[in-house]
Amino acid sequence: MINKEVSNADEAIHDIADNSTLMLGGFGLCGIPENCIAALVRKGTTGLTCISNNAGVDDFGIGLMLKTRQVKKMISSYVGENAEFERQLLTGELEVDLIPQGTLAERVRAGGAGIPAFFTPAGYGTEVAEGKEVRAFDGKMHLLESWLRADFALVKAWKGDKSGNLVFKGTARNFNPMMAMAGKITIAEVEELVEVGELDPNQVHTPGIYVQRIFQGEGYEKRIEQRTTRIK
């Protein structure tokens, strides 16, 4: 067994340097690495390029790092819920690359899987196609898209063991498994860190080979963006 446990978020992210490229798991505020984001705000690392489906809200998620001007560039599919984001974008403080969500997911997966480029139909004929190689397969047009990789991937899982095996819960899985594969250093924060042997090998979502550091996070807020309910 290879032990990947570190004591907390600050230790886990201690060597994330200015101008690093990060991947951050999550869809909206669901399944985001809350503890690592808080530690990055404490550390004050700047010039970050963040690959993440969304950019958080004004006072939570990646929004916290936008407020402190730590982010130089976002690579995302949808960034709508953040006034500070909009302000920085309009003033040119922040760069943004918008990518179709499925292409983003596949580019990250490709980065982890050693596939430097692949063809996808998404975005053909749109602005997204500008400058990209186009090719027809079975009469349908496709774009050549390249892999994405990062210096660090910050992912959040439900459970994990000390050798880095991860299990996700519900739709908090989202981008986390692919990003875990595509980080040179992958840091996993989990709600519950268990001993090796407690997870069923048949039910591991992310094998420990992808995870370099793991710790049990604390104080998860797990904020809900749209609390929709029905009457019993």
Partner: protein, 219 residues
């Protein structure tokens, strides 16, 4: 003229038994409420859920279980959960039978624009470009005209497009129209109380009218 509920009800009639469906945000989400009980369908949420259940009761709310609109939802018997890349394997691989989504503009050759208005803050395309590039059957739910009264069914889209030649059918507050393979909006049904002439006047793209056009039947 139909209201949003009416548009959703009419689209629900297009839903076939035994199919997998992706519903966009807005009117498309409402469609789920009007699918007849004897029609079995499974709803896909691109953030990683197949088999979207109803909103949770207050004590069931789970921050780890949301739909693509970031609303809290539930699972159903037979649901499955997966990653974003697996979700788009389903979409890109053509496994989702029907996609219903909103639009700002649709052109007579089936182009759709629904992600960007030049000069306004661009929020991003989310999964829309993947959905429209991959789905075999796309129905657009939208108002026939903009608030200023301009037609949204055009000869060609004026806004940046989301996908080319992909929309098969449009259901608006005024009409149901098929997009013809050779181009053009073929008028199939009128909303209650709306005349063919009114639809003609509200459609900037090529409108094809053949024979009597029936009125929609909504319960």
């Amino acid at each position: 003229m139909l209201d949003k509920i009416g548009i959703a009800k009419r689209i629900a009639q297009e839903v076939q038994d035994g199919t997998y469906i992706n519903l966009g945000i807005g009117i498309p989400t409402l469609v789920a409420n009007f699918i007849p009980e004897n029609i079995n369908v499974v709803l896909q949420s691109e953030n990683g859920l197949l088999g979207i259940g109803p909103f949770p009761e207050e004590e069931q709310v789970d921050a780890d279980l949301i739909n693509a609109g970031k609303q809290t939802v539930t699972t159903l018997p037979g649901s499955s959960l997966f990653s974003s890349s697996e979700s788009f394997e389903m979409i890109r691989g053509g496994h989702v039978d029907l996609t219903i989504l909103g639009a700002m503009e649709v052109s007579e050759n089936g182009n759709i624009a629904n992600w960007k208005i030049p000069g306004k803050m661009v929020k991003g395309m989310g999964g829309a470009m993947d959905l429209v590039a991959s789905a075999d059957n796309i129905i657009v739910a939208m108002q026939h005209c903009s608030r200023s009264g301009d037609s949204k069914l055009l000869k060609s889209c004026s806004l940046p497009i989301t996908g080319l030649n992909c929309v098969k059918k449009v259901v608006t507050n005024m009409a149901v129209l098929d997009i013809l393979p050779e181009g053009g909006f073929k008028l199939l049904e009128r909303a209650p109380g709306v005349s063919v002439d009114e639809i003609k006047a509200a459609t900037a793209g090529k409108l094809v009218v053949e024979g009597e056009i029936p009125e929609m039947k909504l319960d």
